[in-house]
Amino acid sequence: MPNLLDVQGVTGGYSAKHSVIKDVSFHIQPKEIVALIGLNGAGKSTTIKHILGLLTPTKGVITIEGKSFQSAPDTYRFSYGYIPESPIYYEELTLWEHIELAAMSHGLERDIFVERAVPLLKEFRMEKMKDRFPQQFSKGMRQKLMIMMALLVQPKLYIVDEPILGLDPLGIRSLLSWLNQCKEQGAGILMSTHILATAEKYCDRFIIMHKGEIRAQGTLEELRSITGLSHHSLDDIYLHIVEDDNE
């Protein structure tokens, strides 16, 4: 199967002189959830910004379904759904209008938009907030808005940045089960997170980043054999890899 997302030897950051991530390579295939894990400042968000086309790599190539951002910026933007770590929204639009705008800009038919939006509102228990403005929301509710906007479009690739922080337990469950469903229908998901227990439970593969570089990647079994820590949890393996490096 061809790779859905391909990140090859990417070096980059906010300025050309000062690279934040170095020679990062990984890929995501349809029907898998891949966790991007690392400490604060490990380079997870920078990697994601490169994938979104917000930053340009100084070296290396990023493609989604074989197309890079530089070659076709507009089609590239249509090919993923992004759930940001800190919610971004238009102050002037209500929750429903945000969802409508997401559907419109992605070219969804009106009936399909309504058909998908109603169950989403129900799942995330936001029906009552439909006509309110995100400015009056709590952080978790704004996060739900971001999630619903991404899930509505049903893209092939999801890029999810720290989705769990700020969400209530029911929200977390809804999100993870919904993402799992998307995966079964053929989507690929890249999820950056700190919460290793959740990552271990829901993700198929893991990419461990540290100080801007990828230290290890693979399934849990593969990571166990790399580190020689058989029967250990992801938590232990992760700490082992990161602490090794600090010494």
Binding site: L52, G53, L54, P73, D74, R77, F78, Y82, P84, I88, Y90, E91, E92, L93, E97, E100, L101, A102, M104, S105, H106, G107, R110, F133, Q135, M146, M149
Partner: protein, 380 residues
């Protein structure tokens, strides 16, 4: 914790004034100021003839009392508070009284400037109708300022009320009282005077005493509403920045959003579809965002009024054009409104679509305004 609240006030006021000076430069460079000055000159040319248009039976003093009472009653409380003060200043709340006394003094001074200008504008009108005592002009120039001070003082205490509805009831009471006093003074004491006894004056004294008792009760019962004060400060500050924003981009400008449900049906004119996404976004932004729609409709109303009262056809046309120009200038901010936020990662609407949508809405709005002005010129 020891905080020198007086120094804090001085420092914050200084910082704000520095900002005002800096932004005044930009404003002085902009075209809008020129347009306004030109228009004021044009209006002053016609001032006399406008005054002559007022019929004899029109109660000028009472009308003036009403208008000036609005200006006097509107007491906005800038406090220079910052978000972080909720954390750092609340512990010294009991020592804050001298800080807030200074803010009240500041507000009185600033708002008196506006009041002075309004009084200046109306003074020839008032003088014309007078029976000829010069003492009356002294009252015209003094009493509104005294009332302004009283309004600032009492509205500040009313800000302690947790219930905003009650606060607006008090504001209404303040307005009624202010209007009553001004009507009595401007009407040369004729209001409610019966057989030489000025009953209105007696009523005034009664109301002042009653109000004072109420205010003391509020002060005793309620403490400062920090969140409310911060909200007021924020909205006043963003108003200042919004004005400035017409001339120069203010990056940290916080938006005030108004739901304006009565305007929402207009958005149905934009049909659902991918090509219209940016248009719908810019239209909704225009409708809801604090400044744009409000100012646009006010400009239309004001230009309609001026076109109706001005006698000369050319003057009407010039006013229509000038207001069109002002609308165009103030709509300019809409084009960069969303650029500050990085929304492109979230929705696939590119720069070109944004620009296209902006030109579209500007064309629609200016055409509408032009048509309205032209129709009024032709019909009346």
């Amino acid at each position: 914790m020891n905080v020198d609240v007086d120094a804090l006030f001085r420092e914050r006021q200084k910082r704000f004034f520095e900002e005002v000076v800096r932004y005044s430069m930009y404003i002085a460079n902009g075209g809008l100021l020129f347009v306004m000055l030109f228009m004021m000159g044009l209006l002053s040319l016609y001032y006399r003839s406008l005054v002559d248009l007022i019929p004899v039976w029109f109660p000028v003093p009472y009308f003036l009392a009403f208008v000036i009472a609005i200006v006097v009653t509107q007491s906005r409380h800038r406090t220079f508070l910052l978000e972080a003060d909720l954390l750092f200043l609340t512990p010294v709340e009991t020592k804050m009284s001298s800080y807030f006394q200074k803010t009240q003094r500041y507000n009185f001074f600033i708002q008196s400037i506006g009041l002075f200008l309004v009084l200046l504008l109306f003074s020839p009108l008032y003088e014309l109708g007078l029976s000829g005592t010069s003492g009356q002009m002294w009252l015209y120039w003094c009493v509104p300022f005294v009332l302004k001070g009283w309004n600032i003082y009492s509205s500040w205490i009313c800000l302690r009320l947790p219930d905003e509805k009650r606060e607006s009831q008090y504001a209404l009471a303040r307005f009624a009282f202010t209007f009553f006093v001004l009507a009595w003074v401007f009407g040369e004491g004729r209001l409610l005077t019966y057989q030489g006894i000025p009953y209105a004056g007696i009523v005034c004294i009664g109301i002042v005493i009653w109000f004072h008792a109420r205010l003391q009760a509020i002060k005793k019962k309620h403490s400062l509403q920090w969140y409310r004060l911060l909200d007021v400060e924020k909205s006043l500050r963003s108003r200042f920045y919004r004005i400035v924003n017409q001339f120069k981009d203010v990056p940290w400008l916080q938006n005030e959003v108004k739901p304006r449900p009565w305007l929402v049906p207009i958005t149905r004119l934009v049909s659902y579809g991918q090509v219209n996404a940016a248009k719908l976004l810019v239209l909704r932004t225009f409708i809801r965002s604090g400044g744009y729609a409000g100012l646009y409709f006010r400009l239309i109303l004001l230009s309609t009024f001026l076109i109706l009262v001005l006698p000369n056809l050319y003057a009407k046309l010039i006013i229509g054009l000038l207001f069109l120009l002002m609308s165009a200038i103030q709509l300019k901010g809409l084009s960069s409104h969303h650029q500050k936020r990085n929304m492109y990662s979230l929705l696939p609407i590119n720069d070109q679509q944004h620009k296209h949508a902006f030109t579209w809405i500007r064309r629609v709005l200016l055409t509408t305004q032009g048509t309205v002005s032209l129709l009024i010129i032709l019909l009346f």
